[in-house]
Amino acid sequence: MKSIVNLKYKEVKDGLNSGEFTSEELTLAYIKRIEENDSKISAFLSFEKEFILGQAKESDKRRKENKPLSEFEGIPIGIKDNICIEGIKTTCASKILENFISPYNASAIEKLISKGFVLFPRLNMDEFAMGSSTENSAYQVTKNPFDTTRIPGGSSGGSAAAVAASFLPISLGSDTGGSIRQPASLCGVYGLKPTYGRVSRYGLVAYASSLDQIGPISNDLQGCSDVLSVLAGKDLRDSTSSSQAISKPEIQNVSLNGLKIGIMKDEGASWDGEIRSKFEETVAYLKSEGAIIKELDFDLLASSIPIYYIIATAECSSNLSRFDGIKFGSRVSNPKSKLEDLYIDSRSQGFGKEVKRRILLGTFSLSSGYYDAYYSKAQKARILIQKKYNEFFKDVDLVLQPTSPTTAFRIGEKTQDPIQMYKADILTTSVNLAGLPALSVPAGLDKNSLPIGLQITGPAFSEERIFSFANALLNNPKLEIKLPEGIS
C-alpha cells in the first residue's frame, strides 16, 4: 500500500475494490496515523478504536464471503459529533450532552452503514455548530494541520482537519452558514454544502433547521460526489427532504468553453490581497479557456450576515429549548431545586458562552415588541436574497467566489470580538439563506503556505453541474495543494 498520506479518496476506493489492501489493513494504517499525530491536531473528541475496527473486520468478512457489495465497501469516513450514531456518544462538543449516548442512527448514518462505509466517530466542532474556528468546543481547540498555531475553521473544524492531516480520506460535516465550506477552504480540502433538502436532517442535532445540511469533506472531488449520491434522497423522517434524484452520479467531463460564470462586482476589496490575486488568476484562466465571465451586482451581500444571524439564532433559541435537564442531557439540581431552578441551572451550566449569546439574541428577536423589526424583517430580507440568486442564474450557469475572505487566522485572534468572528462567513451565509448548493475547492497556498479556497455556487439541485465545473477547473495545475506529510 502506498503511504496513506498520499492516498486520495478515489485511490482508497479503487484499492479496496481491486484487493490491493483490506479494509482492516487500511483502517489500521489510519488508526496508527491518528494515534501518532492527533495529540498535535485534536481533531477527535474521543477515539472509538474497537467500534471502528469491528466495522472494518465485518466489511472484510462480507467481501470474503462474496456477498453482494456496494462500490463503497470498507471506505473509512469521519463523523462530526452532531450526527447521531447508535450506541456512540454524541455531544455536539457541549457539556450539556457530556453523557449522551445516542439511542438511534441518523438517516445519513444508516445510509453509510448500508453501503459498507467504516465510521470514525466523534470529530470536534464548535459547540452545537455555532462558530467559525472550532474554538467554541467545550472540550478542545482543533488545530490547522498546515500550521498548528492556527484555527482549522469551523464549525466542522475536526472534520476538515482530520482530512487535511490524512487521518481519513473523507468525513461528514454540517453546514448552517458555511460550516463545511469555510473549514474545507482553510484546510485545503474539498467541502460540499448540498442543496437544502438534498440530504435528510433526521439525526443531525438541530441548530437552525431551515439552514442546516449534512455534507461531505474530502481530499478529492470524487469523494464529495460519491458520498452525496449515497446520502441524497427522500426520507419520511424529514419532511423537508427532497425526492429530486441525482441524474448523473458520475462526474461528467465538460469544457469550460462557453460556460457562463458569474463573479460579484466590487467585492474583492474586502478580501486578503493574495486571495484576490488567486481569484483574478483563476478568472483569467477561465477566460483563456473560453468561459464567459459576467459581473453580478449583489448589493445584499453585506446584509447577508445580519439576516443570517437573526434567523439562525431565532431557530437556535427554539431548537435548543429541548435541553432542559429533564429527558436527556446533563441535569443540575439539588434537593431544594424547583422545576424552574432545574431548567435554569442545567442550561446555564451546560451551555458555553457563544451558545448562550445566540440563544439570547434569538429570544430577543422573537420577543414581543421586537419580532416585527427583527425576525419578520429578516425573513422578508431572506426572500430578497433568494430572488436575487434566481435572477443571477437566469444569466449565468454558476457563481465563483473565494470561500473565505482570509486564510486561517491564529488561535485566539478573534475570540474576544464576536462580530469579527461572524464576518468570517461573509461569503458563505447567503448560500444557506437561499438554500443553494455550493462547493469549496482548494486553490493553492498563500505566502505563509496556508490554503486558499474557491467557492462554486449553483442553482438548487445543480450539484452535478458544480462537480463537472470543478473537475474542469482542476485541470489548472496552479490550484493543486499538497497536504502536509509531517505535522509539527
Binding site: 446584509s303 445580519p306 429533564i326 439540581s333 422545576l339 439574541l361 429570544t363 420577543s367 462580530i419
Partner: protein
C-alpha cells in the same frame, strides 16, 4: 439594551447571566444588535408576509404503526429514571 432588559430576555430563555459576566454580555449584545440593525434599511415592501421561499411540496406519510425507539435505551439517556418514569422535581406545591 441595558442589564434589566438582558435579564428579562435571559429569564425567557431559561438562562442565568452571572454578575461577573453581565457587563461583557450587555456590551457584546449591544454590538450584535447594532450590527444586525442594518437590515432595517432594506426595502422589503415587495415581499408578502406569507410568501413561500422554498418550492418544497408538503407531504404526509402513511398513518401506520412503525417501530418506535426502544424504551430501555431511552431510559438510559434520562438524567434520573425510576420504575419506568423520568424523575422530576415536585411541580405541585402542597
Amino acid at each position: 439594551m441595558d442589564i434589566g432588559t438582558l435579564r428579562n430576555i435571559a429569564s425567557l430563555a431559561k438562562l442565568k447571566v452571572d454578575d461577573n459576566e453581565a457587563d461583557k454580555f450587555v456590551s457584546d449584545f449591544n454590538k450584535m444588535i447594532e450590527y444586525v440593525d442594518v437590515i432595517k434599511s432594506l426595502n422589503t415592501d415587495s415581499i408578502q408576509e406569507d410568501e413561500i421561499y422554498f418550492n418544497h411540496q408538503n407531504f404526509t406519510r402513511p398513518d401506520t404503526v412503525d417501530n418506535n425507539l426502544n424504551r430501555d435505551l431511552l431510559s438510559k439517556i434520562a438524567p434520573e429514571y425510576e420504575n419506568g418514569f423520568i424523575v422530576v422535581p415536585k411541580v405541585i406545591e402542597t
